[in-house]
Symmetry: C2
Subunit: 426 residues, 2 copies
């Protein structure tokens, strides 16, 4: 089925600023609470949040086979389970409803008042119930930087890294939607020269600029997903901030990996941008040498050209950009990550979330964490107000943004934002 | 409220063998599918599976405030959310219904036929929807053995181990109930002397003898759970087999921990034995030196005296016991694990599962994995039929059993069993 919704000629009767992340060609999916406290599934065009549950109840989707209550839910999981051809039909239909030549809803003020809200009127929720959350580690530059900082500068990249899209399991319960503040966590840490660990609030609170993809129920237990089939099972993508407490992480992570240094909070942007909307921005990732093992090989462009930025604001200083990077720098593609994740038969379900790992580029201004930007605090970031930062301080706000752009169009992800609250008193 | 159900004088009108794991003092909770294909929540006494949904519909729980459909569900999560005082009331009431002096159900053949099944007539299901699965690493002997085998015999225990109940996130989607067979996984592995990794079915398939506890919704995001309050939030325990592919694990696990070497399958026993039922078997764990940090200290006996065994059967050989160990050997208690897990504010929900890690004792016959028993294949296990095993072979069946026992009573966990299926062809 054609992705009619991607047609660049299409204009909508809703007002959309040229700089908006959400033209009528985007049509992401999310979950929001309306002013009357009802929570529904919706989409966004420009600065409007559109209630798909109400549109369905008003018969706007009558030509698509959909469960009656598919949009009156507080998560997208069931809709995601309905599969790619259904997502495509629904996006095409939404594109039709809001097309400037279509007067059906445009001229029906009663329906519009029921289904179309200003984005400022609604409260965005976590869009999915996340069964399992996996975080990969697929940026070569990030893995190299971390290796240099924490281990051996001469052998920064570990021997398995160029063969395996290394990943680990994260904690679903601590994933929060953009906007929810993050409490500075307590934990154990040990100074290099100390004989025993100490207990206190982290002194090295950091962000990690990541993206993540959301899967559908992809395979049955024991079966695999091939690289060239993987994208059929990916619903879409979000921005992700993998908040990290570097001192807790450094002391705990050998040999079983990061745990409390990560699972106090992970933020995601609330609108899931579909892979269909991102088709015009498909590109090749970096060339891979050595050649990956057979199950990690595929034929196709499986990376995406997505500009990514991180910005910091302090209590008395406006946002200032500290990272400029791109999703296409990632060494391993999402298709390879999903093929690797299932090569042992591990089941992937609707609503599972898979993070990219921190996305760093080659130049220092493209590093995706303060750990790398300040080289573990050695080179503090200078802020415009004269302050500096080794790591995040209480009251700081960290915002991640991301967008694809060419001469014709901009498809964006909105923002993933969180403010740092001071640690609980003892 | 008194735990009346633990009263040793209580006898039931159902037939219970003296060797049974499920006397009327046990009253575990599980989920099973009845002969008519309805799935319900139930308990077990002797070799009878008791349908609590039907008993509720027949008004046997009318004096307890319970949601109307609390037992007509395919998971225990909502019942677990109702809290410890409700679990206790329900167990006390079940104990009353089946007390030999109580003729209410005993003499009502119609009701008995509707609610009481032979255990062989029902199919056990996974008892909970597992939001997050954490696996700890809390047996000192196991951590020491693994350190000797994989790392440095002279410094086997890593520096953080005596300070932190080390744990990591596992994969919820691959957890299966006892009885479901396990497919030998494919994966990447690299021989020590090889220059590049290879791709194939694991040649080092192993079991890990563990137990796990199931939590209720314990804290809100950002809050902690203290050691002395932790057991209020633990619903009960199961046996767990953390199936492991040692060659895949060894190549992938640095630096982010085990991933595909574990997430192809994890089996649990289907009956959750409540902490209330285990009260008579509370004991102290090993003394802890150095003294743990303040947030890991508590006042009370938080370990349990639970005998644990692993048994192997081959296609032509009956079960033969290869591990005899005890839960009380664990260095870190469940209460400490839960306090540690939440010290950074990580939220714990109803139905989360937390594994102990492999439970090994000091003597070689108490080692809880083939990795340790055979010292990575150096000393194969001799089977009664003349065969030997370095690791598990296709067609082998691994069974874990566990029980508490004193002069008066035996409270057991049943079994956690799985048969190894050959790998898929390429």
């Amino acid at each position: 089925m054609a992705i009619i919704s991607n047609d660049l000629q299409r204009k909508t009767w809703l007002e959309v600023k040229k700089s908006s992340d959400f033209p009528i060609q985007n049509i992401p999916f999310g979950v929001f609470t309306r002013p009357d406290k009802k929570t529904v599934i919706g989409t966004r065009i420009g600065d409007y949040a559109i209630d798909l549950a109400t549109l369905q109840a008003l018969d706007y989707f009558k030509d698509i086979a959909l469960d009656k209550n598919i949009f009156t839910q507080d998560s997208l999981n069931n809709f995601i389970s309905s599969g790619r051809s259904t997502w495509r039909k629904v996006r095409n239909r939404i594109s039709d409803i809001f097309l400037n030549s279509n007067t059906e809803l445009q001229n029906n003020i009663t329906h519009r008042n029921k289904a179309v809200f200003a984005i400022t009127e609604v409260e965005m929720q976590l869009p999915i119930v996340i069964g399992d959350y996996t975080d990969f580690y697929s940026s070569r530059e990030h893995a190299t930087n971390v290796g240099k900082i924490f281990r051996d500068p001469e052998n920064a990249l570990l021997p398995n890294w160029l063969h395996i899209p290394v990943g680990y399991h994260g904690r679903s319960s601590s994933i929060i939607p953009s906007g929810v503040p993050v409490r500075r966590p307590w934990g154990q840490m040990k100074n290099k020269d100390a004989t025993a660990p100490t207990f206190g609030p982290t002194a090295m609170l950091d962000y990690e600029l990541e993206m993540a993809f959301v899967t559908t129920n992809a395979n049955t237990h024991g079966d695999i997903i091939k690289v060239d089939e993987a994208e059929e099972h990916i619903f879409g993508m979000v921005l992700l901030n993998d908040w990290s407490a570097r001192d807790i992480q450094a002391w705990e992570y050998v040999p079983l990996g990061p745990f409390l240094g990560k699972n106090f909070a992970t933020s995601i942007s609330p609108w899931i941008v579909t892979l269909d909307a991102l088709q015009p921005f498909k590109t090749n990732g970096p060339s891979q040498d050595p050649t990956p093992l057979s199950y990690l090989q595929g034929n196709g462009k499986y990376s995406y050209d997505i500009h990514l930025e991180a910005h910091i604001a302090t209590e008395d200083n406006d946002f200032q950009t500290i990272t400029k990077t791109n999703f296409k720098y990632m060494y391993w593609t999402m298709a390879q990550q999903l093929a690797h994740h299932t090569i042992n038969g591990c089941p992937v379900r609707s609503g599972d979330l898979m993070g990219s790992g921190t996305i760093s580029g080659e130049t220092p201004d493209s590093f995706g964490s303060m750990l790398e930007l300040t080289w573990r605090g050695q080179n503090p970031i200078q802020l415009k107000n004269g302050q500096s930062r080794k790591f995040l301080e209480d009251g700081d706000t960290l915002k991640i943004t991301g967008y694809c752009e060419n001469d014709n169009i901009r498809i964006g992800f909105g923002e993933c934002i969180g403010k740092v609250l001071p640690a609980h008193k003892k």
